[in-house]
């Protein structure tokens, strides 16, 4: 485990009560999460749930005809695989690593058993599920009502909250996929933000120069989601 981020870099794992932590610790497996890796595929049974520490995972809903749309992001504040708590082992969505990093995973059968038997664990996971629901819902309506540069600000801020630095390695293609728009649209929105001095965009990397500026420029949706995460979830350690 040399060089890997500790499990407690994930907010949910850090918040486990001592008894649960003692049971979980030997069961957790460290995982590398390279860019583009699929954590699970639609219609498949979940084998593990994954607690990211430095990676960010994008949740995509997949329609019958293969069309997909991003419905949420999960990072060190959360867990990938909430379908498990809803009683189902399989899921209608895909989960794909959108920013490379690391995480820890737990077998789905163990997670289910812990969820059913330890009220503290259940409560923590349900609080997270509820926060994620707010993110999914607000993202959905944001995409209908707000300008693309507002959406891009929201998306950058949600991603930044899940990273330790101020730099995101993102291609415009990836961002376009996540926002469900054409690549040209993302280019235009990114150039606007760059012209306003909020970000620098070069060779596929976005560096945020003015975070408060992004927060002023984005729509209310970012604040709605952030407030709900702050209200429901344990605070994340600043250093990660």
């Amino acid at each position: 485990m040399n060089g890997s981020t500790p499990p407690q870099a994930n907010g949910l794992l850090a918040a486990l009560p001592a008894a649960a932590w003692a049971r979980w610790r030997p069961m957790l497996e460290h995982v590398q999460m390279p860019l583009g890796q699929s954590i699970y595929e639609s219609g498949r049974t979940l084998s593990h749930v994954v607690f990211p520490t430095t990676a960010i995972v994008s949740l995509l809903y997949v329609m019958e005809n293969g069309a997909s749309a991003e419905i949420g992001v999960v990072g060190r504040e959360g867990v990938v695989g909430i379908a498990l708590f809803m009683g189902g082992g399989s899921t209608p969505s895909r989960a794909v690593v959108q920013s490379a990093g690391e995480g820890w995973r737990l077998r789905a059968s163990l997670m289910k058993q812990e969820f059913d038997q330890d009220p503290d664990v259940m409560h923590l996971m349900l609080r997270y599920t509820q926060a994620l629901i707010t993110q999914m819902s607000q993202t959905a309506v944001c995409n209908r009502h707000h300008t693309l540069d507002q959406q891009l600000c929201r998306w950058l801020l949600l991603s930044l909250d899940r990273l330790r630095g101020q730099e995101l390695a993102m291609t415009q293609e990836l961002i376009a996929n996540m926002l469900g728009v054409r690549r040209e649209g993302v280019t235009e929105a990114a150039l606007k933000l760059q012209a306003a001095g909020l970000i620098r965009y070069a060779r596929g990397r976005i560096t945020v120069l003015d975070r408060p500026g992004l927060e002023r420029r984005t729509c209310e949706c970012y604040a709605v989601v952030k407030k709900e995460y702050d209200r429901l979830l344990p605070p994340l350690s600043a250093g990660g």
Binding site: Y61, M63, E64, N65, A67, S68, A69, I71, I82, A83, M86, G87, G88, P92, S93, P119, M122, H123, L126, R127, T129, Q130, I133, T134, M136, S137, Q138, T139, A140, V141, C142, N143, R144, H145, H146, G180, C219, E220, C221, V224, K227, E228, R231, L232
Partner: protein, 253 residues
């Protein structure tokens, strides 16, 4: 998703809330003794108080007997778009009765009706003592989360015409034969779209003879045709309903 045994046709045919219908007679009486009947007024949250956004931590859940309630996140204090619709097959406002505050999302009555109102603490107590109720509430929560996830994707992926056809079909199913009083503004709010776009889409459905819209009253004239125009979300979500037998879910309604 957690699946409960399907309800019998007889159980579905009796008016009332289908979650309550699952309970044994004695448990049903016990639960209803703690409920009070309330009217659902169109355009308002289930509690009937003006103002769109339900206060987080609102103390009650609602078990509709008739009518339909939609779940819609707000944008600038206005409804953003409908992500899910719940009628007598489910309950609203009960996300995580285990003590977590209510969802920061707005519920709004789309079709008037009646519901049983129950304090959240009472629901939590009743769930502790009744395995069937606990399973039914959990299954309903799971269903609503799937609806929300899909609802978000639908807004991005599907065109306005098929989305309008889908929601009108769903509302008509809850409403039955009677015409629905619904304005183009309300439809636009449901779809998260501009009024002009909704008017065009509704005009198209009318030209095809699927609906008849006159002076704010909307009647579905060809339900099977409307269903064919609807996006795939209609059938995908119908199979999740506890009152729809899996075998009949694909048949035209």
């Amino acid at each position: 998703m957690l699946r409960l045994p399907p309800l019998t046709e007889t159980a579905v045919s009796i008016p009332g809330n289908l979650l309550i219908a699952r309970l044994a007679a004695r448990d049903r009486r016990h639960l209803l003794a703690r409920c009070e009947p309330v009217a659902l007024h169109a355009g308002l949250p289930p509690g009937g108080h003006p103002g769109l956004l339900q206060v987080p931590g609102a103390p009650a859940v609602y078990l509709p007997e008739a009518g339909a309630v939609s779940l819609q996140p707000g944008i600038d204090d206005h409804p953003g778009a409908v992500l899910a619709v719940v009628g007598r097959e489910g309950l609203v406002g009960a996300h995580w009765p285990g003590g977590v505050d209510g969802l920061a999302l707005a519920w709004q009555v789309e079709l008037p009706g009646t519901a049983w109102r129950l304090p959240r603490t009472q629901l939590a107590l009743a769930m502790d003592g009744n395995a069937m109720l606990r399973l039914a509430v959990q299954a309903e929560q799971g269903r609503q989360i799937l609806q929300l996830a899909r609802g978000g994707a639908c807004l991005q992926v599907h065109q306005i015409g098929p989305r309008l056809a889908r929601w009108l079909w769903v509302l008509a199913e809850h409403r039955g034969e009677a015409p629905m009083a619904i304005t183009h503004e309300r439809l636009a709010a449901m779809l998260g779209a501009r009024r002009a776009g909704v008017s065009m889409a509704a005009g198209e459905l009318q030209r095809r003879g699927l609906i008849h819209y006159h002076r704010g009253l909307l009647r579905v004239t060809d339900a099977a045709g409307l269903r064919l125009r609807a996006c795939s979300c209609l059938d995908a979500e119908r199979v999740l309903r506890p009152d729809v037998a899996p075998a009949s879910a694909g048949a035209p309604g």
